[in-house]
Amino acid sequence: MTLFVALAFALILAVPGPAPAQPKDVVIGVIYPMSGPAAQAGIDNKPVFEIAAEIANGTTDLPFPFYQRLKGMPGLKGARVRLIFADHQGKPDVGQAEVERMFTQEKVHAVVCCWHSNVTAAASQAAERMGMPFFNAESSSPGLTARGFQWFFRSSPHDGHFTQVMFDFFRDFQAKRGVKLRTLGLTYEDTTFGADSGKVEKELAARYGYEVVLDLQYRARATSLQSEVQRLKAANPDVWMPTSYQTDAILFVRTSRELDYNPKMIMAQNAGHISSDFVKEVGREAEGTLTRAPFSTDLIDRRPVAKALNAIYAKRAGKDLYDFPARAFTGMMTLLDAINRAGATDPEAIRRALVATNIPGDQLIMTWDGVKFDATGQNTGVKGIILQMQGGKYHTVYPFDAATRDVLYPIPQWKDRK
């Protein structure tokens, strides 16, 4: 038995870590799901992180002032950026142990982690305890920035922002088109996602003076939504706001057609309505469905920065930039910019530089106002966008200055469709 324990230990201790960092290197730990159900997120993000490091190292060129200034990390007199990737397998305890290992053994100066909200929740505590910078580029649970942490920074929007953008859209759309939207019908599935979404939507409806004429929680695994659609039809709200996963979203569309329910406007909470299966199965029938999103592939051609980056990314990843790598890139560049401005790699200097971050919106690939952190570490410059299904594909329709299509309103009735 001693033999086995000895062997087992020999294995783990013999694992060749990279050579110890030279003082000039900036080392960043990148901890993502690289196996398990969400592995695609980590795998699609890896090339974009490498591109970010190359931009800082001057080996890849993105011809825009913000990225040019970072070239060769002048603040650190030409230090080289080195990334160390690791897999947390979607497990909070692994993420936490990995953050500790990164800081103590790999001697990284900051970590970018974790995608899953629950892994981020556990792993960021380790960094907070150690007093080391923890950067999050995409976890959307609002509670993460409500913990009073000093070392936690999030560049991406959370669920509260996402719902806000729907109501901003209602306001601007009414002003632009001169139509009146007064009543809302909410349907949401019965797990946390739906319950949280329904709660935020009700709060915002009350704040902005909309009347909720239908407030309906339904079984996520329901095999029939006949009675739900009939109630929608009876209430006939100006806007129907569904929060659904994939199968129920598809079932809603089919049942609406069956029962001839003709909503004038549909505003969905991402998830099921944006899934590739939904688009494939009922994309045509779901004509006119609006949904919130943080980034859209059809915006790439409109934004020169995104277009330049996509040309590099698509070659390496074999696909266009989409939501996940777009947010990951923005997060990593924000961190690299802060380290460059800090002019040092000690944790307090990096933290202070992150607090002072101010990246103008026109330098980002996202349609945001910019990157600027409030006292909780949340980026205040975030902005969601609204997409609409037109001709079986999602197109950006809001904010209006970034739109690639006009809003289709009202949605054509079933009898008028081919």
């Binding site: 001693t2 305890d93 290992r101």
Partner: protein, 315 residues
């Protein structure tokens, strides 16, 4: 000879944190002790009594949630929470026992999977307990034994985890030699024959699951105090139940040291391959991990303990 080896191992375990001061090697050892303790606890019901459970995450989760809810909502020390969690796990195990112990073999195993899934779904929908978003253990400084929180060093966690493992081993050792240990094994070999000889089969099965559940719940509380965050996905998943079973089976079911051996091999193997190759995004680490498990299982169906015995027999 055997005693000398065990004593040496024990001393080595005590000295480990003194030699290895970095958090990660200590973390790996803590995980060996924790999963070792869980597998030893599982082994009491499955290895000795022959009732293969694939729902042990239920007891682990009860331990984690009970202590965390008592800390977060009642300001109670996690040590009391640990005891309460173990007590609650025993109670739940008895309730589960009534229906599922009527089933035998595969049907019992399937029923325990179902119980695990039901409990996880219930907790996901239980808003007061954090629902799907999970719970944070409120961080209290400075480090204190009463609060069961140690932020400066993992050494204390290390010794607590070692204590858990030793406790589980001591209980198993005691059971092995007691009357109940013999009843358990009789039930495992042939339930009907055992009953005909006067063994109260149902009562003994309930005893086995009670001990097993209590020890598993202690591990759950330890996990919560160690990670400071729990959610249904991390403490109630089927994958955890299967991992516990895998460790025990790989090490050697129905033996005292088998599950510990299983943990001592599997945990460093899993962590080592993950650290070494996990960042490539090609899942190579999991391929190697899975491949080695298959090799061991094929060549040595009795588990690593069988291999160890063969070594010992050789001159």
């Amino acid at each position: 000879m055997k005693r000398a080896v065990l004593l040496l191992l024990f001393l080595a375990a005590l000295a480990f944190p003194v030699v290895f001061t970095l958090p990660f090697p200590r973390h790996v050892m803590i995980m060996i002790f924790l999963y070792g303790a869980l597998a030893v606890a599982w082994n009491i019901l499955a290895g000795y009594c022959g009732q293969i459970s694939l729902g042990h995450a239920v007891f682990f989760g009860i331990g984690a949630y009970t202590s965390t809810l008592l800390v977060a909502k009642g300001q109670l020390t996690p040590w009391l929470g640990m005891a309460a969690g173990a007590a609650l796990a025993v109670l739940v195990s008895q309730l589960i026992g009534y229906p599922v112990f009527r089933l035998r073999g595969h049907y019992f195993a399937i029923a325990t999977i179902a119980v695990g899934e039901i409990v996880q779904t219930l907790v996901i929908n239980w808003d007061w307990a954090g629902g799907a978003r999970g719970l944070f253990v409120p961080i209290k400084r400075p480090d204190s034994v009463v609060n069961f929180q140690f932020h400066q060093s993992k050494a204390v966690y290390y010794y607590i985890a070692l204590g858990l493992l030793l406790l589980a081993l001591a209980v198993t050792r005691w059971l092995e030699r007691s009357r109940h240990g013999y009843y358990f094994r009789a039930i495992r070999e042939d339930q009907d024959a055992a009953a005909s000889l006067g063994v109260h089969v149902a009562r003994e099965k309930h005893r086995a699951i009670a001990v097993s559940a209590a020890l598993t719940a202690l591990g759950g509380t330890f996990y919560a105090q160690y990670v400071f965050f729990i959610d249904p996905e991390s403490v109630f998943p089927l994958s955890l139940s299967i991992l516990i079973c895998l460790i025990a089976v790989l090490g050697g079911v129905g033996t005292l040291w088998g599950p510990v051996l299983g943990a001592a091999v599997l945990v460093p193997l899993s962590e080592g391959t993950r650290v070494w190759l996990g960042g490539t995004g090609k899942a190579l680490d999991l391929l190697i991990y899975g491949g080695l498990i298959m090799v061991i299982a094929t060549l040595q169906p009795a588990g690593l303990m069988g291999l160890a015995r063969r070594f010992r027999r050789a001159p």
